[in-house]
Each structure stands twice: as C-alpha cells, then as structure tokens.
C-alpha cells in the first residue's frame, strides 16, 4: 500500500491504450481456459442425461441433439424400474450412508472431544494410533476383514458394511474435529464447570459450536461411502444388500447392449448425488478453502 503512494508515475504510465489491451487479453485468457475446461468436464455428463430421454435410433443418429417430441422416449427408465432392484439398491445406499455418517459424527466427535480437552497420559499415543488410518487404506485388510465378517455372521448384511465404513471414516473425522474443538474458548467450558455441569454436558455444549466442521466432514465422508464399489462387492454382494453403486455396476453388466436402459440407469444413479452437490457445493468448497481439510 505504501509503495502505491510513493510511486504515482508508475500508474499514470500505465494509463494508455496498450495497457487496456493487455488487461483485456489477460482477463480473457483465464476465462477461455476455464470455460473450455468446464465444457470438457460437463459435456460427457450431459451427453448421458440428454440421451437417456431419447429412443434408440435417435441416440445413435443424433447424439448431440436434445430430445424432441419425435425422439423423446422413456423406454430406458421403464426397463430400469421393471428389471432392476433400483428402489431396493437406493434404499440400501441411503441406510448404509446415513447410519454410518451418524455414527462417524457421534463416535468421532466424542473421541475428538476427549483428545482435545484432556491432558491425560497416552493422549498423543492414542492420537497417533487413531491417525494411522488417515493414510493407510482399510481396503488392504480385506482378506482378514472378510474372515472376521464371516465369523461374526455379518456377510451380506448392511450392518457389516456400516461398521467398516465407520472404522474407515473415524480417523480423519477425529483428526479434523479435535483441531476445531481446540479453538472453542476455554472460559466457556470452565464457566459451565463452575456451574456444576458434568463433562458429558460440556461435550454436548461444545458440539453445536463446531457445527460447520461437522457439516463439512459429513459431506466429505458421505460421498466416498455412497460411491464405494469395493466393500459392497466383497462383503455384501447379494441382491438384497447391494448398494446403488454395486447395483448399477451389475445391472450395466447384464444390459450392456440395451443402450436405453444403460443411459437411464446411469442417469438415475447420478441425479441424486448431482442434486445434493448443487445444493451444497458452495458450502463444501468453502469448507475446504477455510482450511477445514488441511
């Protein structure tokens, strides 16, 4: 700011046509690159959505056109709803993702509270132990995990999937939440303690104060669980327990030559996540940029 005042000639020099031309160009180029890449990012997705509403002939003869009264067809969606377990798969995904998320946030916030609030022997050791899972993927223990699930009778159950996702989601949740909880003012908690609040009350008091962090973690844990293929494939492949990701994968394998059905099931699988994303995208990206996930 100081330099600005000291150096006025520098600025008057720039007030000429060349400067504006250069300014215009330097502002155009970022827009060009960004919009070109945006097109690359969105066109493949749109191609699927748009063509899912057309009849088979139009999909092949005019793939780049929007459906019109002549080419409009819902035949693909009819096939999906009559031939696949779409509703069942969707419900399974909702249950697995919802229940896992609830427990990750509950159990994770409890542990994060203990680690950020109390200086006890072994605190840093427990923190270190819990953070191993941030970098080492749980997938690598699949051979033993499957045996464990067989012994516990949890193969082909949603419970089996849920406990694995809880274990998978905890490390990062605890790591981030304990950082947020450290920022809650000490005076607030001590005042409550003087008023005779128990430690459990203090935890319940701190929880709403880290709500933004809970929201961000919620979104970021939810997406990988909803999208996971590996554990549904390995631990719960039965048609009764298949999640939407596995269901779509299997359905597409069978109906690979029925283009209407393929496009429709892809669209149906995308739309819920896309809607959720469009609602929460600003919040989501803002939460990373706020340093929530450093």
């Amino acid at each position: 700011m100081k330099a600005l005042a000291v150096n006025p000639s520098e600025y008057s020099k720039r007030l000429n046509l060349l400067y504006y031309l250069q300014l215009g160009l330097t502002q155009m180029i970022p827009h060009l690159i960004l919009s070109a890449y945006s097109i690359l990012a969105i066109v493949p997705i749109l191609m699927i959505l748009v063509n899912s509403f057309k009849n088979r002939n139009a999909i092949f003869s005019h793939p780049f056109q929007f459906p019109n009264p002549e080419t409009f067809s819902l035949i693909g969606y009819e096939t999906v709803f009559s031939r696949s377990n779409f509703v069942q798969n969707f419900t399974n995904s909702l249950i697995v993702t919802g229940v896992s998320l609830l427990f990750i946030l509950l159990i994770g916030s409890m542990a994060a509270f203990a680690l950020s609030e109390y200086n006890f022997r072994g605190n840093s050791l427990v923190s270190l132990y819990l953070s191993i899972g941030i970098m080492i993927p749980i997938r690598l223990g699949t051979v033993s995990l499957l045996r464990l699930m067989v012994n516990l009778g949890l193969v082909n159950t949603l419970t089996g999937l849920i406990v694995v996702y809880i274990a998978q989601g905890l490390p990062l949740t605890i790591f981030i939440l304990s950082q947020f909880m450290r920022q809650v003012p000490k005076e607030l908690k001590d005042a409550a303690r003087i008023d005779g609040a128990s430690e459990y009350h203090i935890y319940l008091m701190v929880l709403p104060l880290v709500r933004p962090a809970l929201g961000a973690i919620g979104i970021f844990t939810m997406i990988p669980i909803w999208n996971d293929l590996w554990f549904p494939l390995v631990l719960a492949p039965s048609s009764k327990t298949a999640t939407i990701t596995l269901g779509v994968q299997q359905f597409l394998g069978q109906f690979v030559s029925d283009w209407n059905a393929v496009l429709a099931s892809l669209s149906l699988a995308m739309v819920p996540i896309l809607i959720l994303y469009l609602i929460f995208s600003q919040q989501m990206i803002r939460s990373i940029t706020a340093g929530a996930l450093k």
């Binding site: 200086n119 690598l140 051979v143 464990l148 293929l229 940029t289 706020a290």
Partner: protein
Amino acid sequence: MTKRPIHRRFPIHIVVFLSPAVLIYSLFMIYPLLDSLRLSFFTTLPDNSETFAGFQNYILLFTDSNYAPRFWGALKNNVIFFLVHMLVQNPIGLLLASLLASGGRGRKFYRTILFMPTVLSVVIIGFIWNLILSPLWGVTEGLLKLVGLERLFQPWLGIESTALVTISLISVWQFVGIPMVLFYAALIGIPEELIEAARVDGASGWHIFWHIKFPLILPTVGIVGILTFVGNFNAFDLIYTIKGALAGPNFATDIMGTLFYRTFFGQQLQLGNPTMGATVAAMMFLIILSGVLAYMVFWQRRVQTVEM
C-alpha cells in the same frame, strides 16, 4: 485446556468418550490390517488348515512363472497410472486453481462445474467414458470429424498399447477437482500485500507465480502428491468397471488393486488364494507406507527448512 484430575484414578469419562472409537477402529481396521500382514506369511494346506511358510509367498510372487509376470506387470502399470496423474492431473489442477484464484467473474460457477465429476461414483464415470469412447456410439469420432481429425480415432480402450493411458486420463478427468480445490485454498490464503508489493516492484505475473506463490504453497504440493500416490496405488474401481477383474486387453490395464482382487477371489480357471491375496495386499501396504514415510521424512522436513 486441561482439567486437573482430582483423583489419581484414570478419569472414567475419558474412557467413555474414547472407547467406542478405539474399539470399532481397532476391531475393523487395525486388526484386519495386522492379521492380513500375518496371513501373508502363511500358506493353506489341502485340509484347509494354515501353516507358517516364512517368505515363501513373497518368493512365489516375485519369481514364480504364474505370479511374477502378473505382479511385475501390475506394479509397472501402477507406476505409469501414478505418473500420468502426477504429470497431467496435478499440473492441470494447479493451472485451474491459479486461474480461479486470480479472481474475475463467474469464479463460483467454474468452481462448481469443474469439481462436479469428482463427486460422482467411479463406476458411473467408467461407464460414461466407456460409452463416449465406444466406436459403436461414434460420439468421439463425430466430434473429431468436426475438426477434421476423424482419422485419429481408434477404440483406445481396446488397444493394448493405449488402454492404460486412456484409463489413466479418464481418472485424471474425474479427480482433477481435488488438487484444484486444495491448490485454490492454498493460493487464496497467500496475503494480498505480498503479491501487491511484488507487482508494484514490477514483477510479472509469471514471475510472481513461480517465485512468490509457488514456494508458499509447497506444503500443499506435498499433500497433493502423497494423496495422489496413496489413491493411485489403492485404485481398483475404475479398471474393474471398464475392463473387469481381468484388466484386459491381455492384462494391459492390470494394477495392484485388480491383481489383489483376482488373487484373492480367483478368476476364470484359477481358484482364489487368500494367503497369496494377503501377500499382494502386504506389498501394496509396503508401497503405500514407504510413500507416506518418504513424504514425512523428506518433503515435510525440507519444506519446513525452506519456510524458515
């Protein structure tokens, strides 16, 4: 900060708060990881009992005529898969992030669109690109025709020499949003005064980027690098979706994840082998662990000295 314990007994509420997380995490994450490492030193006898075998599984994996070509092939392909991400995904992510961070109108809009593929399931992305690149549909060929390049079109996913790079690029297309957002967060965190001072001193945008901004976001460069490494050496879904467990054509797209799945569960003529599966998983574990350790020892330490 701390609550001084009045009694010398370990405060019970700490146990209550910690035990659910520690129990679930230990039982369903740490125990399977350790037990799987243990299994890699055992072999299954015909009567289904397991016996200690030392390093026999590893020797088989590295030298046996059935296992070794698949293992070394998958490892090589996985390195290529990773290199494509490092050389294409992360630089593009950095470019897009710096364009977004430089401000201008429509920033939110671009951000939303560019991150969109990242939130979709890999299964969906795999099928979408399978359809779009399919010669049956002819969409890609049609687009190339518009610019007069239709001669270049080939069924890239089906050709041995191009399948792996094509799949890597599909993965890059999907996940470029992650480095983009992380770099973006780091770039907008740089104090404006620093940039302003350099600009007043007459530094060009190019110069400011490489000499001021880039050194300041080095910690994020490291994080993006290690996240890419762990994600890539643990990948499976995309190749399984597009190519199946056999990772064709002729294992050209086979990576560690698909090799692990095939070895564990078996394939067409070969029976599944849990202890050999555990051995492949142990190798993935070693690779990922050494990547993480290298990052912590070399990168984090170096970056800290640079910052000082």
